[in-house]
């Protein structure tokens, strides 16, 4: 990540709950442009009485882009493996999407685009926040831990009836 100037690094911007709609908008725009994927609001199925509680562990793919400067933390995109393959297929073609490295690459770039678009839409961040190169985690039953977690906000969207969670997580 490129070094920030001292003045830019010193002026921290607190997370604004209104950014949820900005994150929602940035995600819908970038998935449409990058993957021709139209995202809609995700409506989870009703939880049945007596059902097992939702697990805190994660499965599938999580793409992460770090934020530094006026806002420290990360933007993540999480979805089931099958959804990540569908998205990669739309971005790079069916044959390429058979390669797990291409799937990870596609998810990382989607996260990079959403992070860039999000910060460009927030005036106080645009010139004062830097992005890391993407990191992608995939597998079953993993837990993502954040050092010095602060606040977070998450938008739940749906592609082909499958959930995609996009989160902004700040560090305190």
């Amino acid at each position: 990540m490129t070094a920030m100037t001292n003045s830019a690094a010193a002026k921290r911007v607190p997370l604004d709950p209104a950014w949820k709609s900005v994150l929602d908008c940035a995600s819908i725009e970038d998935f449409e442009m990058m993957a021709s994927a139209r995202l809609t609001a995700y409506v989870p199925a009703a939880v049945q009485p007596g059902a097992e509680p939702v697990s805190q562990t994660q499965s599938g793919v999580t793409a992460i882009v770090g934020l530094a400067g006026a806002l420290c933390g990360m933007i993540t995109i999480r979805c089931p493996s099958a959804t990540s393959i569908k998205l990669a297929s739309k971005m790079a073609g069916d044959e390429a999407a058979k390669d797990p490295n291409i799937v990870g690459d596609a998810m990382g770039e989607l996260c990079n685009m959403v992070a860039g678009n999000f910060k460009a839409k927030v005036t106080s961040l645009a010139d004062h926040c830097m992005l890391s190169v993407p990191t992608v985690i995939s597998g079953d039953n993993y837990v993502m831990q954040v050092a010095e977690p602060g606040e977070s906000l998450t938008v739940a969207l749906s592609f082909d009836d499958s959930p995609i969670w996009i989160s902004l997580i700040t560090q305190s």
Binding site: M1, T2, D30, M33, M34, A88, M91, A92, G93, A96, I102, D105, A106, G108, E109, N112, M113, A115, G116, N117, A120, A126, D127, H128, M130, L131, S132, V133
Partner: protein, 128 residues
Amino acid sequence: MKKLKIRIVDGSAVMRKIVERALGQAGLDLGEVLEAGNGAQVLVEVQKGSSDIIFSDINMPVMDGLGFLKSLPGFETAKGVPVIMITTEGSQARVVEALTAGAKAYLRKPLTPEQVNERVTPLLVGVS
């Protein structure tokens, strides 16, 4: 009309394909398309031969786009070859830094045909 020999430099193989597709959709007559994953890789390739235009990301591992841009004047094969920066980093500071370092234009991801036609096509007038 001569087909364009271009270089696309981006850490993501998927993004390199998307950039190539977007340039074609914008009407550029693409010939040979050479790809590299970072600034250091493309410098090795630049030593071997010239191209008509170079498109480079900024945020890349090993050597980023600004480092690549600053190293490029040392290569005879790169003289007069326009470099276009393509990135998610749309901040004014990064634009100024890239243009000061020698970039001829700056495109924001995701590329649109309008952006390409407005900022890239004029740079290719003498080429094709």
